[in-house]
Symmetry: C2
């Protein structure tokens, strides 16, 4: 039976460190502030925003949620982002996605001041990551990295195989883990829907990250006994239960270590948003 990598535990450790960093900032007269923008009434988004507020509270970050109606005019959202960009008490701005379809999501994400873009989604911050000098790393990739390292699984020199090339996870994670920096410097293979014979790659992985959003797609046939498996997938089934990309029951019988869903990457993602907010506040001093 594989070792279970406990995301809740590591996230809690990081939150404790963040509280200490916030205390240092407060001593300097800086109260880290996070603005969360929620447009429309998607229930999943509302839940995520609630969890983010709860995480902020646990780390002494002041979080303010801006709720806007489903029919929000582009001008109004622009105005809100511009005013938050200009507000010195706000260090991080998060636009909860997806936003209603009549609003140009990429354009609004891009409108966020790169110095406050704690989700790391502006092209400026993605470009900095690509050059190996990241300022804010997107929260899920950052969470995957920290979860591995803080659980004792070295990344440096390893073969990391990532399945999925999304803008939010697979793509930035592939860049991050292959960069020449501490807790990275891995040889990375990025697999996706265009990959032929997936197991040809996954069977050579020291670390396998499943981030395809395809429930149970990684089976015992895709892994070796030395593999460390990180499951980023979280698809809700008909009963609302979260299902990972990895067939946990079968794969956990075979591999060296594995994350559960939920309780693996999820808590890390939320915590790294707090990390980025604290970092934004530190950079503002």
């Amino acid at each position: 039976m594989a070792e279970i990598i406990d995301g809740k535990k590591v996230a809690k450790e990081i939150r404790a460190e963040l509280k200490d960093r916030v205390a240092v900032l407060r001593d300097k007269g800086v109260q880290p502030g996070l603005a969360v923008i929620l447009v429309g009434d998607d229930p999943a988004s509302a839940t995520y925003v609630r969890l983010k507020n709860s995480d902020a509270q646990k780390t002494d970050i002041e979080a303010v949620t801006y709720k806007m109606p489903p029919g929000t005019e582009p001008d109004d959202l622009e105005e809100l982002i511009d005013s938050l960009n200009a507000d010195p008490s706000i260090h991080g701005i998060l636009l909860q996605t997806p936003i209603p379809k009549h609003l140009d999501e990429p354009a609004f994400l891009e409108r966020i001041d790169p110095n406050k873009d704690v989700d790391g989604l502006t092209s400026r911050n993605q470009g900095m990551l690509m050059r190996g000098q990241p300022r804010f790393i997107s929260c899920t990739p950052y969470g995957v990295q920290q979860l591995l390292v803080r659980s004792g699984y070295e990344i440096e020199g390893k073969h990391v195989v990532i399945v999925g090339r999304s803008n939010l996870v697979g793509r930035p994670l592939s860049v991050l883990l292959s960069s020449k920096m501490a807790d990275a410097n891995a040889t990375v293979t990025l697999c996706h829907t265009g990959t032929k014979d997936l197991s040809r790659y996954t069977l050579t992985a020291d670390i396998l990250v499943a981030a395809a959003g395809s429930p149970g797609m990684i089976t015992a046939d895709h892994v070796t006994q030395d593999c460390v498996v990180i499951d980023v997938g979280t698809t809700a089934n008909a009963e609302g239960k979260l299902i990972g990309d990895v067939d946990f029951d079968a794969v956990s019988q075979k591999v060296r270590a594995i994350t559960p869903v939920p309780g693996g990457v999820g808590p890390m993602t939320r915590t790294m948003l707090m990390w980025n907010t604290v970092r934004a506040a530190e950079l503002s001093v």
Copy 2:
């Protein structure tokens, strides 16, 4: 003996297409203009700039070179870039690197209007590439892609192994070729100085791109007979002769196809700068 992939020939084909596109632009009253900024008196840089001017001439692009002395003040370079950013007759701006050490190269590259950044080096353009919606792709990665496709070597679905993660070549190429778009969609493994047992990866490559800047490092032991080898390396030896990263004599006896150095990727890189300039002019209409 491997097929020889002829970069000169493909570059010439592309230049002919570009001339046609320039003719269409001229009919609309638009003359594509490229500004090349050369700071200091590095002889290699001066040669590159001369070659770029010659390529521009061959494709009916109007190239203007701005020569600045080695002791150029930051303010003066800023002023030049700002004025070129504002000049409607200039569609592309290229800052020839390296620039003298007292000038902050990344900051000056970043100062170029992303709409005129035909080298694709601003973080804005790198971020767009990362999101799979490139505007200007850096010239060498773009040249490698076009060289493969136009020489009849399909990229889609193949395993591409890249050796070297430089900002100019390996990193953007890994992103480009793994993107979900035509002439890409490959499974890409990015190797580098932190990779242990390089041949473990290169021996599984359908396409191997050597972009490490380490003369002759890819030997016959690194390749299989089915491999298509692209050599991006160009290191000048003591006699000033350009040496690739691939041991051409030995490797060309074994593999399916290979680029020579010189005459492989080099002419493609220069031609894709013209491509990007024409595209910038087209986007400006």
